[in-house]
Amino acid sequence: MSDHLRSLADEDLMQLVRRGQASAFEVLYERHSQAAFSLAYRMVGSRGVAEDVVQEAFLAIWRSGGRYERSRGSVRTWLLGIVHNRAIDALRRSFVHEKRRASDEGLEEMLETGERTDVEAARHEEAATVRAALEHLPADQSQVIELAYFGGFTHTEIADMLQTPIGTIKGRMRLGLQKMRHALGTGQVSLG
C-alpha cells in the first residue's frame, strides 16, 4: 500500500472509497478498526459478536461511502456511529441484555502492544479525558448514560430496571451530557 494513501486525510480517502478503491478502504480500516472493535466489544461483551458487528459496519461503509457527508462530522465519528448502531441491533436482536460484560482486567492480554505513534498517544490522552469527564458525573447520571449508550437499553427499559420515572431518567441523561460537554470544553477532545 502506498505511503501516499496513508498520508491522506480520512475525508480524502472516502472520496476514493466512493469510487471503489479497495486500497483506500484498507487504510481507513487500519486507521479505525481498533476503535471500532473496542466499542463493539465494550457493548456486546463477546469477541465473536463484536467481529460480526465490525464486519457488518465496515462492509456497510464500503458499500455506502457516498452517504458520508462532511458537514455531519468527522469520518471517525460517522464510522463509530455506524458501529454503535450495529452493536445496538445485535444486542436487541439476540442477546437482549443477557450479555456478559467484559471486565477491563480480562482485556489486558488483548490490548494493543505495538509501538505508540503520536496519533495513538493523542488518542490515549483523549480517552483519559473522556473517562475523567464520565467518572466525575454523579453516579445516577453516569449510570444512565452507560446503560443507554453502551448497554443499548431504551429509556423505558432503564426506567423499569431502576424503578424510576421515565422523566427522571431522561433528565439525568440530558444533565449528564450537559456536564460532560462542559467538562470536555471546546475542542479538548476531537474524534477526528
Binding site: S38, L134, F150, K170, G171, L177
Partner: protein
Amino acid sequence: MSTPGPEHAKWAENVGAYLLGALEDEERGGFEAHLETCPVCRREVDDLRVAADALPVSVPLVAPPAELKQRIMTVVRSEAELLAAAGARADAPEDAAGRPAAPRERRRWSLAGLIARPAVALACALALLAAGGLAGALVAGGGDDTRTVVAQTTARGADVRLEIGGDGARLVARNMPAPPPGRVYQVWLKRPGRDPEPTSVLWSTRKDGSAEAAVPGSLDGVDAVLVTDEPEGGSDVPSKAPVITAVPA
C-alpha cells in the same frame, strides 16, 4: 434569541435520550420531526453531540484479530474487481430500449446499485460466501445420514434450512413470505467459476409461510444453493439477487 418550536416543552427533555440512542423508534421519529421546527432543540443537540460522540473514545482499547481484516478485505477486493469489470457499462446509462445511451454525465459510483444487477449480485453473494460472511452454520443432523445447514435469507423473520440426506437435498422454509404476485421462487446451483445453473424447481409457500423444495441432482462440487424470485415459468438467468443462500459444505 431563537424562538422555540411548537411543543418545545414536551420534547426538550428528550435531547439526552435521543443522542444516546435511547428513544423508542416512534419517539425518535417524533423528536426528529420536532427538531425540524425547533431551533432551540437543534442547537442543544448540536452542542451536546460533542459529548455523546466522545463516549466511544472512553472504552479500553482491544485489538481486532488479523483474520477479521482478511475477511473484510476479501469481500471488498472481490467487489472492487466486479466494479472494475462492470465499470464501462456501469457508467453508461441505458435508454428506454435497453441500449447504452450516448456518453453524458458520469453517474456517481454506486456499489449498491451495481449489486442490484443480477449477475453481479450473485457474484457478490459468492464473494461473501468465500469470505465466510454468509457462511451457513451446520446444525444437528436430522438422522444418521442427514445433516442440516442453516441458510442465509434476506426475508425478515424467515427460517430456511438445507437438509442434505443420502437420497438428495431439500430446502425447508418456515415463516417465508410468498413470492411477489406473478412470480415464483426458483432454485439455482452455483459451482466454482461458473454462472448459476437454473433448475426446474419452482415453488411458492403455503399460507402459513412454510415450504419444502427438493434440490435436484447431486450437490458434489456445488458452492451454494441459491433461490431467487422469477417470473412464472422460471428463468434461464437470474433476474434478481438471491433471497436464500445455502452453503452445502
